[in-house]
Amino acid sequence: MSKEYDVVIGLEIHAQLSTQSKCFSSASTDFNSGHNENVSLVCAGFPGTLPVLNQQAVDLAIKAALALNCEIQTVSVFARKQYFYPDMPKGYQLTQYEFPIARNGFVEFFLNGEPHRVPLERAHMEEDAGKSTHHGEYTLINLNRAGVPLLEIVSQPALTSAVEAAAYARAVRQALRYAEVCDGNLEEGSLRCDCNVSIKPKGQQELGTKVELKNINSFRFIEKAIDYEIQRQVQCLKSGEEIIQETRLYDSVKNKTFSMRKKEEANDYRYFPDPDLMPLILNNEDILKISRQLPEGPIARRTRFTKHYQLNDQDAELLVSERELADYFENLVNITQDPKLSCSWLTVEFLRLFNESGQKWHELKLTSQNFADLILKIKMGELSGKMAKEVFETMWVTGQTPQAVIQEKGMVQIKDVSQIEAWIDGIIKENPKMVLDYQSGKEKLFGFFVGQVMKLSGGQASPEIVNQTLKKRLKK
């Protein structure tokens, strides 16, 4: 990053609140419906129709704001933000402007092991617009999305790098998913992120001109888009050009930002309080009730994992990165009583297949109970590492119990001590030099002997008995 300039970044994150029906109309929020199927007369803005606020949207907004450590406002007001656009049916968007539902707050996260805390300015409720698709000669409008409830989370301009901004966005997503208020899917648009980026010469007090970046649909692109934009602004300033206050779109294919409009039209949204809605009044008891329902957040969980389960920071952070993963981990540990072994199987084998398969949590066949049983068998030495891996992979696909897989595959462990002794004796006879070396102190060679036994047994010898017997036989 440039050493001559300070970078100032603020993020506006739009999170879709997971309700069944829309914010002000009782039409469905289902994402996968056909064109204009989730529409009521209210969200299509028919003459004479009126908005009525969804209780669940309010409750989720409160929950989200609490998860982001915000102060809930007991009075908030929906205003009309007015502009003409074909996917905005009423000619105005309902949004909390002067009086948002939440103020202040902060988001904490770790970046390269360092704790960060980003202060929030506010969080406010609003309704989404419909979706336009452009076809050159004409534009088509789908209103399925129009009126879906959103919470806009506005950070203070306190972020100083693209990496930090992306980490912040991930942390917000994490917090919202932990609180179960938003599914956090960037690709489907249930989480959207606008970035305000400006730079100023190092040490200068006054902020530089702010550029807003839109159309960013992954965390990786948040980082790339901001990095590109910083470089662009640095180039601008160095070549004596002026930075224009504007909205730019990020093109992930070209990895560039583009100006949205040639001539910047002066917007005048003419906000005023919506006379069709009354102020939203919340009482402290209701807020308290919601705060009691709030599950443990990711930061608290990370701390608990390191203290209670003695996990290292990296493992703890990886486990809490997704709420489902952390839940899965705790389910495993409850049965296996072995955090370290559970963590290692979960973060290595499990995540490898999880990421390769691209499965969603609810599609998972492998139950935590079956997985825990497998880990217990490993712990008891009933399966060799190689066998365990094979059983695990089958369980992943079929969802069977480890016992069922072992029987099906005829993978019975050889625990016959005399058989194992016979193999060991043969190996000792064939490798006299190795035996001598081991006995004179080269203890690393132990692994070689284990490997040879396993090879002879076709991987089926009980590792525990192999270890015990080898140790006995190799003694001078």
Binding site: L41, P47, G48, P86, F272
Partner: protein
């Protein structure tokens, strides 16, 4: 039995006792509409076939439980009624067929009322003369050269001319009461929030209220009682839980104290109206009603506050008319340079002059740099006005004022002077700004044989006292309408 001379209350009981049928009643009224409407232009549309079909269905029902079973009702054309052309008096909605019915009309229908037709109105309810209708002006049945008032001119004219026993209007700044006054009928604007606005095409959300227009106070109360209810589809609707308004007693002599704000009897008021009110007050005083003079010092601010608030809200409420999802779209799309051209072409042709004037005014009042000076200042003065009324009602039970500065004016008389036209609303807008219930009832005729009206206002939710006082006044005035 002469059906046209019967009040709504009488008709309902005649229908119950089978002295007449819904089919007989509707066909009589439809015939009269067919005869007189071409000249009067009180209705924008009516569908005889559908009306008679519904009447037959109601006649066929064994149990006639509904409070209004079989009663024809004319409905202002800014109320959505399923399957009817619902135009709001505008080219913008000339061919709009509503896919749903307004809650308050649904409530009337559930009690057995029959929507006999949709009445003429100033475009989007903006006007005080009905001359701003895309479908041509409605005329005053007392004298066809005069305006019926507005914006619910069609509803008032229809009731006055006997084209419907009762009608529904909407009142944003006097749009029920002023035409009721001009046409010699009774019109009520209830307390804000009493009647659901769901399905009433919005002009100004914080001012609009639906209400009945009828030949007498009892008929109006009968309809009002059915319409008042909390509606979960309207966030501004209130749960009133109040006693029925259907069974009213005339206010007992001397039981109520009448407030007389001196600002409402100022130099603007025409002499005849002034004298008639004086006469009325003398009679009421004889009956033991006490009067008290009030000061409502902010009265002269009512017109600017009203026009800023109403236009601001209207400019926003009318943004949805953009030619995308329903209504008029300008087919001439040549030379569109950008999207805003598309909107401009449609909206500039689809809206009439007065509507455009108010959209501009409202847009200006809300625009950055003027918002505090206009919209916010108006909303603050509005608060002061409401406070002033609260204090005034500590000294009296009802407030009595003229409804308008005089009787109806001739067609075309004020069309070119918007400010003069705005001034017609001076006595009526305060009730809307402060949310108060108000009623206009006939007071007599002026020298031109045109009706003049008197207005009562009451505290929020005090309709009962207001209507009982109105019954006492009605009794005192003994006004004879055109149908009597």
């Amino acid at each position: 039995m002469n059906l046209f001379k019967q009040t709504a209350t009488e008709l309902v009981s005649a229908l119950k006792t089978k002295q007449t049928s819904a089919v007989e009643l509707c066909s009589s009224y439809l015939k009269k509409i067919a005869d007189l409407n071409p000249e009067l232009n009180a209705f924008i549309s009516f569908n005889s076939e559908a009306v008679l079909k519904r009447a037959q269905t109601l006649d066929d029902q064994k149990e006639k439980k509904g409070k209004l079973h079989g009663l024809p009702i004319a409905v202002k054309d800014n109320f959505c009624v399923t399957g009817t052309q619902t135009t709001a008096g505008s080219k913008m909605l000339e061919h709009f067929i509503s896919p749903y019915t307004a809650t308050c009309i649904e409530k009337l229908e559930r009690e057995g009322a029959i929507v006999i037709g949709k009445t003429n109105m100033d475009e989007f309810a903006m006007g005080s003369s009905n001359e701003n209708s895309f479908f041509g002006p409605c005329k005053n049945p007392w004298n066809l050269k005069y305006v019926p008032g507005g914006s619910s001119g069609g509803s008032a004219a229809a009731v006055a001319a006997g084209l419907s026993p009762v009608a529904i209007g909407s009142d944003t700044g006097g749009s029920i009461r002023q035409p009721a006054s001009y046409c010699g009928v009774v019109g009520i604007k209830p307390t804000y929030g009493s009647i659901s606005r769901y399905g009433l095409i919005a002009f100004a959300s914080s001012l609009d209220q639906a209400g009945p227009i009828a030949r007498n106070v009892s008929d109006a109360a009968l309809i009002l009682d059915v319409m008042i209810d909390r509606d979960e589809k309207d966030s501004t609707s209130v749960d009133r839980k109040q006693p029925s308004l259907a069974q009213l007693k005339k206010a007992a002599k001397g039981s109520l104290k009448i407030g007389l704000p001196k600002e409402y009897f100022s130099q603007h008021l025409e002499k005849t109206t002034q004298n008639k009110i004086k006469e009325l007050l003398e009679n009421l005083q004889k009956d033991g009603f006490q009067t008290v003079e009030l000061n409502l010092s902010l009265t002269e601010m009512a017109i600017p506050v009203y026009y800023i608030v109403a236009s601001s809200e209207a400019s926003s409420n009318l943004s949805r008319f953009d030619g995308v999802r329903y209504g008029f779209r300008n087919k001439d799309q040549s030379g569109l340079s950008d999207l805003s051209d598309f909107y401009k072409k449609t909206r500039s042709v689809g809206f009439g002059d007065e509507v455009k004037r108010r959209i501009l005014l409202g847009t200006y009042s809300l625009s950055s740099g003027y918002y505090d000076e206009y919209y916010i200042q108006a909303a603050r003065v509005r608060r002061l006005m409401a406070n002033e009324f609260t204090s005034a009602f500590k000294k009296c039970d009802v407030i009595l004022t003229p409804t308008a500065i005089g009787a109806a004016f001739p067609l075309g008389d004020q069309a070119h002077d918007p400010i003069k036209m705005y001034f017609n609303d001076i006595y009526t807008v305060t009730a809307n700004l402060c949310g108060l219930p108000a009623i206009s009832l006939p007071l007599g005729l002026d020298d031109n044989k045109l009706p003049i009206g008197v207005q009562l206002m009451a505290p929020l939710f005090a309709e009962k006292a207001m209507l009982e006082m109105a019954l006492a006044i009605e009794d005192c005035v003994q006004f004879k309408g055109l149908t009597q």
